[in-house]
Amino acid sequence: MNKDIHHIENFLKGLTSLTGLPSRKVRQYLKINNPFNILEHPHILEPNEKQLEKIGLLNEFISSYNILKIYESNDKIVLNSSTISGQYFSALLGGMKDKERFMVAFLDSGNNIIETKTMSEGSIGQTAVYPREILKYALACDCKSMILAHNHPGRSLSFSTEDKLLTQRIVDIFHPLEIKILDHIIVGGNAYSSMAEKGELPDMRSGAANYKAVVLSAASAKEKKNGYHDMQLR
């Protein structure tokens, strides 16, 4: 019941902000009526021309959204190559210029995406990744494998020591659980690089699992040496 009220309250806020319908009028109407009456029979709230046009657009958009959902229900996103994974994460992370974000795609046995989550987000120079958080989500969605990805706002496509350390640590944690780490993608601008493609992905357990956070630095050793990283912060 409370969830319904929450959804209706959000609906009210969304509808009034998008269409310009007066909040008080909509709230009054929703007390005893179905919210979708407003979309299906907009004249009941006596909207002006502009408001009516926005309601019309909203109705058309919802129809299009529903059609696309049907189309997409037949298309699972399958991350079965470094190229597809690179393109997928480039779409998600390519626009991030002012901060670093670490994401994980949790996959089923056919490499279909079950869920993609942002696991941490930091400043332009670094972000802290907590392996135990990844573990929590991986077990909750019963994934069989994962693909890690993060962006380098400085556009470097090199894997830093911290990137490699984090990947190793995650492999160490998930190996005994039979959850494979298939790749670690780095996105810099519109380009990407794949740890698997470069043959740098650790595939064996190197020691005891370590759940401590790893702080990723966006700058490669070369960038640090050249002072490029400092320049980005100014």
Binding site: N10, L18, N66, L68, A91, L92
Partner: protein, 78 residues
Amino acid sequence: MNYQELKEKEYEKCVGLLADLIDLDADTRQKIHKYIHGMGINNFFLQIESMDLSQETSEKLKSIKAIIELSDIKRGRA
């Protein structure tokens, strides 16, 4: 027109409607088209916070999300 072409056409239409609905500029429209095309309409609305969009655009998209969420519940698809 085959299935893929129909889907592509629907993506165009959907983004066009979105642009008219929340008054998107050409760059943002193109960016959103790329996002929706790359990750799907459902994931797009799940990932609004992750995208490189202005605060104003994000807030408007969240308003649409609130409406389609209730629409999904009413249709028994949530």
